[in-house]
């Protein structure tokens, strides 16, 4: 395999990167840090005298709605990406379809090469669609490649001897795939999924431009109207969300990773 897996190394601040530290602290470092950031943000906003423009966005109802929109978009997009890219990647590494993989990778490359803003604006302009769905499409097109490639690389790096041993033991091809190949590829596939998740959280902010709300509403609003508390709240919450979701994904990765690896 000539392709390199994306971001196989754990993200700094994530899990499993500091074997020397006590496990509990290892688990809690990120949430503690994020909580501290949120407390700081809360105190900062409280200390500001908010004018009527800022109050329209910096209130519980608005923030909850934007957070909900943001999380829904990022999570649904990532689930869709997994549902599309992992089976597709698996298919493309099977003997019969392996010839097609350069073509599919090429198409997926185009998806990732288009700037995300362009993708987000494509559907409203061309198909007169706005809101949740066009942003979802844009996110999926934009992040599917990473997961697809990591799936293919992950499956490709499985030791051929193990597969042959499995076949020799009388396992079917499908059995080898599900009991040997996929479990051994999980760490690399999950690394791709984590990257997609973070990309989706970040890119979902662009949803603000086409009526999908998200925390991007706060960022553009704070920027356009020169209201720092609004801008900072939007930016910090997006970052906290990305790191928080990555932390969850880290735990999921640890749970799903086959023992002994």
């Amino acid at each position: 395999m000539s392709e390199q897996a994306q971001d196989v190394a754990p993200v700094p601040g994530g899990l499993g990167s500091r074997p020397g530290l006590p496990t509990l602290l290892n688990y809690l470092a990120t949430p503690l840090f994020l909580t501290a950031v949120c407390v700081w943000l809360y105190l900062y906003v409280q200390s500001q005298e908010l004018d009527s423009i800022e109050v329209r966005t910096l209130n519980q109802e608005f923030l909850t709605e934007k957070l909900r929109e943001h999380i829904t978009l990022a999570v649904v997009a990532t689930v869709a990406v997994i549902a599309i890219a992992v089976p597709l990647g698996t298919l493309l590494t099977r003997q019969a379809l392996r010839r097609l993989s350069p073509v599919v990778i090429g198409i997926a490359n185009i998806g990732q090469a288009i700037p995300s803003v362009g993708l987000v604006f494509f559907f409203p302009v061309v198909m007169a669609q706005v809101g949740f769905r066009p942003v979802l499409y844009a996110l999926v097109i934009h992040t599917a490649l990473g997961v697809l490639r990591n799936t293919m690389v992950g499956l490709g790096q499985v030791d051929r001897h193990l597969i042959e041993a499995g076949r020799g033991m009388g396992m079917t091809k499908l059995g080898v795939l599900f009991r040997i190949e996929l479990p051994l590829a999980v760490p690399i596939i999950l690394a791709g999924v984590r990257t997609a998740l973070i990309l989706n959280v970040a890119t979902a902010t662009l949803g603000t431009f086409i009526n999908a709300g998200t925390l991007g509403d706060l960022i553009t609003n704070g920027h356009d109207l020169n209201r720092d508390p609004v801008l900072i709240t939007g930016g910090v919450l997006t970052a906290v969300l990305a790191l928080g979701i990555d932390w969850f994904a880290g735990i999921a990765e640890r749970v799903l990773r086959p023992r002994g690896l």
Binding site: D51, S52, P124, G213, T220, N221, N226
Partner: protein
């Protein structure tokens, strides 16, 4: 530089021809046929009597005083003349460089900007990224270059906050800002001040403390305007903003409106409109889009029937949109004025006169047409700015 000297050298000749022409024209129509008082050589000191004199200062650098009576004064012929009309209704024909006082009707000869000389000066001109700002930036750049200055071109620098930050920190020396934007965005007020002059005055006074000088504003008003596609305008029976109340009550599903995020939260935006007019769009019918997408969305009519636009945007004409009049005068004024760093302005106070003349010429019609020239007719902002400056007599003799 050489082009300026060449132009200045040509000026006396040009003015002389013109003076001769005007003298003949006035002479044949007016009560007196020829000059009653006439200078011969250079630097004459001419003084009118109590009657309606026709004073002709030839040769340049004259001091002409009309004194009492309705005088006609022809300074012309190069040099810097000093003209004082005195009492009575006086008329004068002068070069742009002449110093003219108490004359009721002054006709300038030659390009108006020839009166300004910024040779040796260097300015950095910024602007925002949308069409109108690119044109204003180009007008500024070309006017300063015509007056001999060296201009570092930062036209199209970035958004509102980028330009403001660049101006405050001294990375650029000037850019055009709108009075309403200065007041609400940069000075962080929530309520606009009614009336163009009052709004400009308020923003000018307060921003002086930030080291920024607001030059005289232009008359065009790039305020918010609700628009609808013309072919559907009649069907909704919304001919003025207050008609929305009926539409929302009787056909709420048709009352869909596209706004940008900013408009949905500012006091002089949607919350204010709804309060002022006493209606409320169903919250599901408010679609928040990026500003550039709104025009097409209104034109399509699939995403929304109505939308917020900027009054002078060329796409209103280009897409055939119909602006819905603000019949209860809610929207604040957004007049353009060149913002100059006070430090730069103090070194070059003549910027005020030059850009007052230009700003005064920027009417709603002219600005909308220039925007449409770029957005619809595909011209370049540079070209549109050049045509404006020449056509309005700033860089060329007005026909």
């Amino acid at each position: 530089m050489p082009s300026i000297t060449k132009r200045l050298a040509l000026l006396p000749l040009l003015a002389a021809v013109l003076v001769t022409f005007v003298v003949t024209a006035v002479g044949s129509a007016g009560p007196t046929a020829t000059c009653t008082i006439k200078g011969t050589a250079k630097a004459d000191v001419l003084k009118g009597t109590a009657k309606s004199d026709v004073i002709c200062g030839l040769g340049g650098n004259d001091r002409i005083n009309g004194d009492a009576g309705d005088d006609a004064i022809f300074a012309g012929a190069g040099g810097i003349d000093r003209i004082a009309g005195g009492s009575g209704k006086d008329r004068a024909v002068a070069d742009p460089l002449d110093v003219v006082a108490t004359v009721e009707d002054v006709k300038l000869t030659g390009p108006a900007l020839a009166a300004y000389n910024f040779s040796g000066a260097e300015f950095t001109v910024g602007s925002k990224q949308f069409t109108e700002q690119l044109i204003l930036g180009q007008i500024t750049k070309q006017a300063l270059e015509f007056a001999g200055a060296k201009v570092n071109n930062q036209v199209g620098l970035g958004g509102t906050s980028v330009n403001r930050a660049a101006l405050v920190s001294g990375k650029i020396d000037m850019y055009w800002e709108y009075t309403g934007t200065g007041w609400i965005v940069h000075l962080n007020h929530t309520q606009p001040i009614p009336g163009p002059t009052a709004q400009w005055d308020a923003v000018r006074k307060e921003d002086a403390g930030n080291g920024i000088t607001w030059l005289a504003p232009g008359p065009f008003d790039n305020t918010y305007a609700f628009a609808v596609r013309s072919e559907a305008a009649g069907g909704f029976r919304v001919v003025k903003l207050s008609d929305f109340a009926t539409l929302i009550r009787t056909r709420p599903n048709d009352a869909t409106v596209c706004v940008n995020t900013e408009f949905s939260t500012r006091d002089d935006g949607l919350p204010g409109v709804e309060k002022h007019y006493g209606f409320k769009f169903p919250s599901n019918n408010v679609v928040k889009l990026e500003t550039g997408l709104i025009y097409k969305a209104i034109d399509d009519g699939k995403i929304c029937n109505f939308g917020i636009t900027f009054a002078t945007d060329g796409r209103i004409e280009g897409l055939g949109l119909k602006v819905i009049p603000d019949d209860k005068q809610f929207f604040p004024v957004y007049n353009p004025a060149l913002n100059v760093r006070t430090e730069v302005f103090n070194k070059h106070p003549k910027l005020a006169g030059m850009f007052k003349a230009i700003a005064t010429d920027l009417t709603n019609d002219r600005m909308s047409r220039m925007n449409a020239d770029v957005d619809i007719r595909g011209k370049f902002p540079e070209e549109v700015a050049r045509t404006f400056l020449a056509g309005r007599g700033f860089t060329k003799q007005r026909k």
